[in-house]
C-alpha cells in the first residue's frame, strides 16, 4: 500500500536576524519524488499542518543532479543535497533544517560566502599568462591528472564543513574543502609555481594546523573526495615548508 501523504517538518527563519521556528507540512505522496519536489509542492500551496496559509518555504537549488551544491541542507539531522534525497529512501516525517555553520538568509537558504572567501585566500586557481604569452605549460602525468580530477569534483557545497566539529560559526577555520583545493592547484605543474603562496595562506590562524583530524569531512562528502588524504598531504607540504623556512632561509 502506498502512502497517501508525506509529512515534512521544516525549520523556518524569516530573515537573517529573526528567530527560527518550526512548521509542519503535509503534501500528497508522489512516487520517485525527492526533497526538492516536496518543497515545490509546498510552494504550490503553502499551507502549514495547522491549516494556516503561510509564506512559501524558501530554498536554494540549481542543477538538480548533485553537481552544484546549492541545495545542501540538513535532512533528518544529516547534511546532504536535497536533490538526491529521494523520498522513498529516507525516514519520514522528513525533517529539514538549514546548514548550521553558515548564516541563514531565509528558511533553508544559507550564505556560503565564507567558503568562497576561503578559496580566494588560498589562491585556488592557476595564474594565467601576464603581459606576454608564456607558451604551453608542462605535461602532466596521467596519475596526477586522475588524482586532480577527483579533487576537482568539489562543488563547494559545505557538507564537509557542516560535519566538521572544528568548523564553527565563531572561528576562522578554513576547512577541508579549501585545503583540498590547495592540493589540487599545487599538483598542477603550472599551479605549482605558486605552491608556496598557497601554503603560506594555510599556515596561520584557521589554517591546516587547526584541523583536529576528526575525519567527519570525508564521511560527509557527497562526491567521495579523499579530503583526509588532502589534509595529510597539505600537512606534509606545510611541515616541509616550516622546516625549510627554519633551516634554509
Amino acid at each position: 500500500m502506498s502512502q497517501e501523504t508525506i509529512k515534512l517538518k521544516i525549520k523556518r527563519q524569516d530573515n537573517p536576524r529573526s528567530k527560527s521556528y518550526w512548521q509542519e507540512f503535509e503534501i500528497p505522496y508522489q512516487p520517485l519524488s525527492n526533497v526538492i519536489s516536496c518543497l515545490q509542492d509546498i510552494q504550490k500551496s503553502p499551507v502549514a499542518a495547522n491549516d494556516l496559509g503561510v509564506d512559501p518555504v524558501i530554498w536554494d537549488c540549481s542543477c538538480l543532479e548533485e553537481v552544484c551544491g546549492s541545495c545542501t541542507m540538513l535532512i533528518n539531522g544529516r547534511v546532504r543535497q536535497a536533490c538526491t534525497a529521494l523520498v522513498d529512501q529516507i525516514e519520514k516525517p522528513i525533517v529539514l533544517e538549514p546548514m548550521s555553520k553558515f548564516p541563514v538568509i531565509r528558511d533553508l537558504m544559507v550564505d556560503r560566502n565564507r567558503m568562497f572567501r576561503a578559496l580566494k585566500k588560498v589562491k585556488a586557481w592557476v595564474d594565467i599568462d601576464g603581459s606576454q604569452d608564456l607558451g604551453e605549460g608542462p605535461i602532466m602525468s596521467d596519475h596526477i591528472r586522475a588524482t586532480r580530477y577527483t579533487l576537482s569534483e568539489c562543488m563547494t557545497c559545505g557538507c564537509c564543513l557542516e560535519a566538521c566539529p572544528q568548523y564553527t560559526k565563531d572561528n576562522s577555520f578554513l576547512g577541508a574543502a579549501a585545503f583540498s583545493q590547495v592540493r589540487l592547484f599545487n599538483l598542477h605543474p603550472t599551479g605549482a609555481m605558486n605552491a608556496d603562496e598557497r601554503l603560506e595562506e594555510v599556515m596561520g590562524k584557521g589554517g591546516i594546523a587547526d584541523c583536529g583530524n576528526a575525519q567527519a569531512c570525508v564521511e560527509a562528502c557527497p562526491k567521495n573526495i579523499p579530503l583526509t588524504d588532502s589534509i595529510a598531504d597539505i600537512s606534509r607540504q606545510t611541515s616541509l615548508k616550516l622546516l625549510k623556512d627554519l633551516l634554509l632561509k
Binding site: T168, M203, K205, A209, N213, A214, T228, I231
Partner: protein, 225 residues
C-alpha cells in the same frame, strides 16, 4: 631572525603542541609507566629505580624543563583546542569523530588527574624535603596508602587509561598533522600499530596498580635513613 607575526605564532604553537605530546611528554609517559612496572618484579627493584632517578644531578631542573613546562604548555594549548571546536558525535557518529571527541575528553580528565597525582606525590615530596635515598620510602608509602582504597585505585585506573589512550591516539594525530602518514591505508595501519602501543602501556600501568593493591610493602632507605 625574522619577526614572527600572530598568524605564524598560532601555527607554530599548534605544531609544537602536537610535537610536545610525543617528545618529551609521550616519551616520559612510556618511561614512567615502564619504570613503575618494575614494582611487579619486586619492591627492591622498584626502589632502586626511584633511587636512581632521585639521585640524578639537576633533577628539579630536568623535571621542570622536560616535564612540567611542556605539560603546562600542552595543557594550555589543549584547553584552547577544546574550546575552539564543537563536538558533534551525536549527529556524525563516525569512529574517527568519536576518537576526536575522546581525545579532548581524556585531555581534560588527564589534566584533573595530574593535579591530583602531583598533589599527592611530588608536592609533598618537595614540601617534606624527601630527596635522594629518602624519596623512595616516602613515595612508596604514599602509593601503598593510595591503593588501599577503591577510590584511589579507580582514580589511577581512569588516569592511566586516559593517558595511554590520549598518547596512542595522539601519536596517530601527530603523524597525520605533520604529514608523516598520508593515504587512507597508511592511516589505518598506523592506527592499529598505535593502538597496540597504547594497549601495552595500559597493561604496564594496570599491572603496577594491581601489584601495589595486592602487596603493599613498606621499605627503608637503601642508604642512610
Amino acid at each position: 631572525m625574522a619577526k614572527i607575526n600572530q598568524d605564524q605564532a598560532h601555527f607554530y604553537l599548534l605544531k609544537i603542541n602536537s610535537l610536545l605530546g610525543l617528545v618529551p611528554i609521550g616519551v616520559f609517559l612510556a618511561f614512567h609507566l615502564g619504570i613503575n612496572s618494575l614494582r611487579t618484579v619486586g619492591p627492591l627493584q622498584y626502589q632502586w629505580s626511584i633511587d636512581l632517578i632521585n639521585n640524578m644531578p639537576f633533577l628539579f631542573g630536568i623535571e621542570v624543563v622536560f616535564i612540567y613546562l611542556p605539560l603546562l604548555l600542552h595543557s594550555l594549548m589543549g584547553f584552547y583546542i577544546y574550546f575552539s571546536g564543537k563536538r558533534n558525535v551525536v549527529h556524525y557518529g563516525y569512529p574517527r569523530n568519536w576518537l576526536y571527541t575522546l581525545q579532548r575528553i581524556t585531555g581534560v580528565l588527564i589534566f584533573g588527574f595530574l593535579i591530583y597525582h602531583l598533589g599527592t606525590t611530588v608536592v609533598p615530596k618537595l614540601f617534606y624535603g624527601k630527596h635522594q635515598f629518602l624519596a623512595a620510602p616516602f613515595l612508596m608509602d604514599v602509593m601503598n596508602a593510595e591503593f588501599q582504597t577503591w577510590t584511589g585505585r579507580i582514580i589511577y585506573l581512569i588516569g592511566i587509561s586516559a593517558a595511554t589512550f590520549h598518547f596512542a591516539n595522539g601519536l596517530w594525530g601527530f603523524c597525520v598533522s605533520w604529514g608523516i602518514i598520508i593515504g587512507r591505508n597508511a592511516q589505518r595501519n598506523a592506527s592499529v600499530v598505535f593502538a597496540m602501543v597504547g594497549l601495552v602501556l595500559t597493561v604496564l600501568g594496570f599491572a603496577t596498580v594491581l601489584e601495589f593493591s595486592l602487596d603493599p610493602v613498606p621499605v627503608t632507605p637503601t642508604v642512610g635513613g
